[in-house]
Subunit: 238 residues, 2 copies
């Protein structure tokens, strides 16, 4: 197997990230690309959850994955072993991604209309239209604080938090949950060994964000993935 491509991200020079993120989101929609920004604490199960999700959606979409990490490339390797195109984005110690860094990743994964350096080019350049991935997952840096402060320009934000972390996380990390379109509560197979109340967790999520969709799942056993993936599919097509 050829080696995973590792992209050392350049620091962003744009002052107004929010504006650039809005522009990127609009571009992606025009090009028929749906990008999902996946955020969580370290070890909440982002990569395993992605693998399960990809397994369910790979016949419906041309999937690509951008794995952000401070330093390693283990996550991109795992995705590639499942036969899915993946690039590793190295943040060089930075704790988050912004829209310009997402653009660099889109070019590296061969998204239609994105050239090297992350500059938007007319559709048709970069990968030919209808050839690049149309569903792209961006696995953000494992961090429940900083990534929420920077809009990546993705079409949707998904937060994964896991049973062993405790049911009070939305209380303690408010911004992350305010920004979430969907919250996956992972590792529900471990519920019997932890003091975790699903009702409390759910009500804290909804207090932070009444519009968030909550999906209890187990990336280990596959439980809950039918509901989550069917909702995601509807959102992409909707």
């Amino acid at each position: 197997m050829e080696k995973v491509r590792i992209l050392e991200l350049k620091k962003t020079i744009l002052e107004n990230n929010d504006e650039d993120a809005c522009l990127l989101r609009r571009e992606l929609a025009e090009r028929g690309i749906f990008a999902v920004n996946v955020m969580s604490s370290p070890g909440a199960g982002k990569t395993t959850t992605l693998l399960r999700t990809i397994e369910k959606l790979k016949d419906d979409f041309r999937i690509g994955v951008m794995e952000a990490d401070i330093d390693s490339d283990v996550d991109a390797l795992k995705i590639r072993e499942a036969g899915i195109p993946a690039v590793q984005l190295h943040t060089g110690g930075m704790c988050h991604l912004d829209a310009q860094m997402t653009r660099q990743g889109l070019a590296a994964i061969g998204a239609s209309g994105y050239a090297e350096g992350g500059i938007a080019v007319p559709p048709g350049d970069g990968a030919a239209a209808g050839e690049g991935p149309d569903l792209i997952f961006l696995e953000n840096v494992g961090n429940l604080v900083c990534p929420a402060e920077f809009d990546t320009g993705c079409s949707m934000n998904v937060v994964i938090y896991s049973v062993p972390e405790g049911d009070d996380k939305p209380q303690k990390y408010p911004l992350m949950f305010e920004k979430a379109d969907a919250v996956l509560i992972n590792k529900i197979d471990a519920l019997p060994v932890f003091d975790f109340d699903m009702g409390t967790a759910r009500s804290w999520v909804l207090k932070r964000n009444p519009n968030a969709q909550v999906f209890p799942v187990s990336a280990r056993t596959g439980e809950g993935f039918d509901e989550w993936c069917s909702w995601l599919k509807d959102r992409i097509h909707g």
Copy 2:
């Protein structure tokens, strides 16, 4: 019970945090105060681990706890319920603490020689010498990335990471483990339900930092706390 004191931290104005942190560390040593900076991901069990540690050490030291959090005060309340002086430090969204913020906390917890605003004053001001706490735990913001980048000026750095997070965390968050004097691997009571190899975890920690002490513990059952607390006591007296 009187309410927990909540301190809204002021943003730091010092440019050179490293220098200020060194100065603070020296001051603390001169005043006979030992401060432990506790860092981890969200939900790794910092507060529960502190409660167990305090239980074992409270007859030997005058303990105080500074709980940093973005917004809530649940952790300081838990410590106070155990009868230990605690203040809640609100970072107002900030993802880390620095030395100047630690100074503000030291004043709030009544450490000898620290006046309100965190300015060092001659020993004897603030709390009378020999009256304020001589062992202070600083529970940093739950974040495995940013807190490692800012020296708090504490006497020691402790990283807690937990079995459900996976044995590859030191590989993916290198700086945090490079900065650790001790690493507590928590939630070992959950080892049977997770794919976690203690040998792999330990060897990754030591690859990042050959001088780190590794303690497998369970804050839930108390396992491993004799070893950890006896080592900590030796370090404080040493």
